[in-house]
Amino acid sequence: MPEKFDAIVVGAGPAGISCAYDLAKGGANVLLLERGEYPGSKNVMGGVLYRKMMEDIIPGFYKEAPVERPIVEQRFMMMDKESAVTFSYKGLEWAKEPYNNFTVLRGNFDQWYAAKAVEQGAILVNETVVLECIVENNKVVGVRTDRPDGDIYADVVVLADGVNSLLAQKLGFHKEYKPEEVALATMEILKLDKKVIEDRFNLEENQGCTIELFGDATKGILGTGFLYTNKDTLSIGVGTLLSGLIKHKIKPYELLEYVKNHPMIRPYIQGSEPQEYLAHLIPEGGYKSMGKIVGDGVIVIGDASQLVNAIHREGSNLAMTSGRLAAETVLFAKKMGDFSESTLNLYREKLMDCFVGQDMKKYQDSTHHFNKFPQYFDEYIPMVNKAASQMFTVDGASKWEKQKKIWNGLGSPKEKMKLARDVFRVWKVMK
């Protein structure tokens, strides 16, 4: 290994690999460090990879990458205990190029993606934990690893070390997260015959479906469940704010079992065999929890900088774009021969100018809002279910009578005011 690199990227996930790929492609001498046995071995994701942001890095990647199924239908189920109001969009424009998104299994995908970065000239070293950044004169100049003689130097260090980002925290870039800033997600990969998946989810061959679950899936706690189709497996999971689990004293894997056995979900997964159980945190504090992301000789990308759009379950795409923009910035800094914070701040500007920063800002109050007002999940979703049941049950009552009953079911004038206020509030935080 050379004595000094142009850049060291810490962490081989979507953000880190994207950054290393573009850096190597741009002619930089880049080291990609991964603490796991192989890229992907520590990584967890519900499973949706967005085509556009990946294609910004490798055009046509899906022709050779190990993707599972292109998604043609996205369903949203608002669940009560024995019912669900579902809406969905299915569009066959998503079944062909250029596609919208794919399900992936990260164990396969990240290994493939990291190998592509290596093809471009990045040096990948697995099984290496970065203990801390080496700081000299307030400037990050390298990393200290857990290998013997493990100090490695570079002009710039890119931290892509994921949600826990102990490295950015040690630099003082962000404080320790609070339980209401992270969601704990557990999931299982369930083996199920390919044909059975296609029949149950109403799919042609090589088409996929995602279902997001709200309401009773999380027992009314702020969070969501999900059920995604892979080739011959399903990914099923549930994530809630850690603070919610603490408050309600619920075991996360029991919540997962609750979802798996929910009468609205069980028929989809019946007869499947669990293959793997996974748990991971998701940074959900949003824009307001983002710490410092640029310093002298250092840039923070992906989950490590809280880049998750929880409302639209986007994360890996934000990670990839942040990795790409970090690479652009580092290549520019290399040309200028200046790796100071003021030059690297170009990354922050680019990030905040594109969809990543814009969406982070747009939804900056959403997590806090829904956390503060749990009634959306534990009152209004059951209310919608009840209204649908009343309206669609044919029992001899006239539709006017039914409407009146539903209207009265909303409660007293005071309760109706509260509902109106909550509708306004949700419009305000989502607009």
Binding site: R35, G36, E37, G40, S41, K42, N43, V44, M45, G47, L105, R106, G107, N108, N126, E127, T128, V129, T145, D146, R147, V163, N164, L166, E176, Y177, K178, P179, V182, L184, T186, M187, E188, I189, K219, T233, S235, L242, L245, I246, H248, K249, I250, K251, P252, Y253, E254, L255, E257, Y258, K260, N261, P274, Q275, E276, Y277, L278, A279, H280, L281
Partner: protein
């Protein structure tokens, strides 16, 4: 609905032991997780909430001390963030050790 109630409902469902059996671990010989001050768990933490929210249930209260089954840790970080007394020293396992996800 509180935790106990769900538990009684779910006896027929798969247990954490069954789930953990599906996962590959390459445990280091020494723990990457440490309770900083055992007295806090014993005398100042009646809820011992880590024994509830840890997704791998590696924290187990044994009469007077917290047993930490680090070998089954998913390295999610919840205990570090969720411990009401910030009483857990949390590090990554040595390179190449710890949990090895094969699929998701």
């Amino acid at each position: 609905m509180e935790g106990d109630e769900i538990m009684s409902e779910q006896k027929k469902y798969s247990t954490i032991e069954e789930k953990q059996y599906l996962v590959r671990f390459n445990a280091d010989t020494k723990s990457h997780l440490h309770v900083k001050d055992e007295d806090i768990c014993l005398n100042h933490c009646p809820d011992k909430i880590c024994t509830i929210f840890c997704p791998a249930e590696i924290y187990k209260w044994e009469d007077i001390r917290m047993h930490v089954g680090y070998e089954g840790c998913h390295e999610c970080g919840s205990c570090r963030i969720g411990c009401p007394h910030q009483n857990i020293k949390w590090e990554y396992p040595k390179g190449g050790h710890g949990i090895v996800f094969r699929l998701g």
